[in-house]
Amino acid sequence: MDLTVTIGSGTLPNPVGVASGTFGFGEEYGRLIDLSRLGAVYAKALTLEHRPGNDTPRMVETPSGMLNSIGLANPGWERFRVEKAPFLRDMACPAVLNIGGKKESDYLELVEKCEELDCHWGYEINISCPNVKAGGLAFGTDTHQVESLTKKLRPLTKKPLIMKLTPNVTDIGEIAKAAEAGGADAVSAINTLKGMVIDTKKRRPVIPAGTAGLSGAAVRPVGVACVYRIAQCVSLPIIGLGGIFTADHAIQYLLAGASAVQVGTALFVDPRIPLQVLEGIEAYMDANGFTSLKDFHGHF
């Protein structure tokens, strides 16, 4: 049985990774689970400068999910290079750097800098960030911005380039096409959905920023539908995520057209879930005579 996933110039040992922002830079969960069994660690968003993060509280539980407003809190490039990169380099599974920014040049400069390092397998570009030059509209909500950014990033690296799409758009398929036109090697979907919870006693949103990102089981059907739509629009590999808690959920994403998956919020419920998901996918492939991940595609 072949569990490998090829994305651009790279190959992942298996399809199950852990989602950006839920796994830090790998050290903490590395003390609880065997990282060598993961397909990839998608690291916490990295930005050029240190980001202290958003005001608190930053999280609230919602029906079968949670809202978060972390604000891309991260140590910034300089401290990342010294404090985090060595761990990622020595880690027993591929590391994918999740890149954030406020304007196009931030992304380009950061990817150029990261090219000096040897700690990572590839890039996942977080285009859910607001673009200050486009009036705060997220990069990922506009096909022109997505194609332009992807085109400019492409020549900077030979490593796999994954554009991570936001579901907060009218047609995620159009955005995926823009990423493909720009030269991306893959797309991942979905980032969090926009949501809000209001404290009726205090008469204001629980999260100071107002809206925040919804994740967890509640978003799974949205994520599966997004992956299905993307698969109809592009021939790029798709990495599916959003609310994966069991192998069955991951298999839904694979059947919808994904070639790999990520587990995020479920880690907060049980850190062993990514490894259980991988075992379940293997068992399903075994039981159904699948020899590679391609066998999940084209059933409907």
Partner: protein
């Protein structure tokens, strides 16, 4: 830190809406101030593991305890725990209460959901022969937990209405004492109590270590979700990893 299976030894109501949960402990030895996250239910609702501070650890029997308040969905489910029920535990997590500065007497204050960790601390410091002053505050006598109080410390109970122990808050009581110069203050409980303790410590130029609470997701330092604002250049620290016990002077008191 380890993730392990635990069995409930007992769960009983120890005061109005407060429960003492005793359970088997297979992880590394926990210290006062540390906490665990647990799940003892299936499915998506409630979703996240819930954090609780430890209230005791018995090394010989390999059992630990916590005191929880019935507040919402998770703690309501926990009130139904019975002997032999299974729990999924991640712990011990976070840092510990620091030892008292040399020559200073530990003055430990607690109340509400902060009762558990201060009992654990008072017990450990008593065993070390430091004879702490333990001051516990509750709304009225119905909220005073019927739990084993640590031996070897001076224990004072305060209630807002005077229906048990001293009348008034923990802070009122501390301010009525004139022998507290040279203390190291410790606290865990409602924010007004911690703020009052901090102010008292600042007036007395005494160290003050408080344990605080914030909503948690990972509980192990990975997600940055449990951040609280601090008076340091980095602006925020994580309660789960950098705390939950902090020097009160670095916290932002509003």
């Amino acid at each position: 830190m380890e993730q392990f299976h635990s069995e409930v030894i007992s769960c009983r109501e120890s005061a109005r809406d407060y429960y003492e949960l005793i359970f088997t402990w297979k992880g590394p030895v926990p210290l006062p101030g540390q906490f665990l996250t647990l799940r003892c239910w299936e499915g998506d609702s409630p979703l996240l593991r819930r954090p609780f501070a430890l209230s005791s650890y018995d090394a010989a029997e390999r059992r630990a305890s916590l005191i929880f308040q019935k507040r919402g969905p998770a703690t309501s489910l926990m009130t139904h725990l019975k002997t032999g029920d299974h729990m999924d535990i991640l712990g011990p997590l976070g840092g510990t209460f620091p030892p008292p500065e040399t020559g200073r007497r530990p003055v430990i204050t607690g109340g509400g959901i902060g009762t558990g960790p201060v009992l654990f601390l008072a017990d450990a410091l008593s065993r070390a022969g430091l004879r702490p002053l333990l001051v516990l505050g509750f709304r009225d006598k119905n909220f005073v937990p019927r739990v084993h109080l640590p031996l070897g410390c001076e224990t004072v109970i305060c209630t807002d209405d005077g229906s048990a122990g001293q009348e008034g808050t923990v802070i009122d009581y501390l301010r009525s004492r004139d022998d507290l110069a040279g203390s190291h203050f410790y606290g865990c409980g409602p924010n007004p109590m911690l703020k009052g303790l901090h102010e008292l410590a600042v007036e007395q130029n005494a160290p003050c270590s408080v344990s605080v609470e914030e909503v948690m997701a990972c509980g192990i330092g990975a997600c940055q979700g449990c951040a609280i604002p601090v008076n340091l250049p980095r602006k925020f620290l994580r309660v789960c990893q950098d705390g939950p016990v902090f020097d009160s002077r670095i916290l932002v008191w509003t």
